[in-house]
Point group: C2
Chain length 151, copies 2
Amino acid sequence: MAELYFEDLSLGLTWRSGPVMVSQADIIAFAQSFDPQPFHTDPEAAAAHRLFRGLAASGWHTAALSMRLFATGETRPIGGIIGNGIDELRWPRPVRPGDALTLTCEVVEVRAPEPGKSVGWARIRNTTTNQNGEVVQSLVVTLSIPRRAKG
Amino acid sequence: MAELYFEDLSLGLTWRSGPVMVSQADIIAFAQSFDPQPFHTDPEAAAAHRLFRGLAASGWHTAALSMRLFATGETRPIGGIIGNGIDELRWPRPVRPGDALTLTCEVVEVRAPEPGKSVGWARIRNTTTNQNGEVVQSLVVTLSIPRRAKG
């Protein structure tokens, strides 16, 4: 496993995590708990829906699965992933039963620690794609990340 | 139940949903599935954490619970809540075991349907508060919402 300190986060650094599989049962169970709308819980109603044309995962389910990939990947920021905020969260395509999701993380902004502080900031663009390479989610997360202790 | 059409969404219109209760078991179960970091899954490790000082729900759990309030409230947009995007998602305070969350929705932007179209757009600020009135999450969601069919 590679744990990234602040000094490791150069602009453009990219890493990947996954895949994670999504079943129809997963989609329905999440939606029944958190987003109980027919296009997320009922395959027949979803098939007739003018936009979805079939069962689609709640966007918040996609977000939660993407977080799992971010937090459990072989490469990840050190010290725990504590998001100070999320911007530009988009779901350009639905996640479908049987999809396999992969997360790509790219460092898009870095800010050095303030004088005397041991923690810098980074903004990381997280893009979730399905097994066909189609983007199902994108967001930018702002994280605080410790620098290495001075030797 | 009040279902809101596009014409009902005047700037500043506000409604509330909830509360929903959050237990320690809920927090741990969600985190084990989607955000398995010790400050979300292990009360002892969380108590020792420099920021959290106790078990804290994953921000994505707070987001999912807030979606449940948005989608199941007595007042809600008609036709299904299909978010075209989320901006400015923030978690200023953690959700704790035993919290009771309430969602406040406020219309902050409206855009009329394009000529010949039956669907307008709105941006709605969703603010989730705990039983002490403290904000635990805020976001702005962009939704497409049908107007009333002409009589």
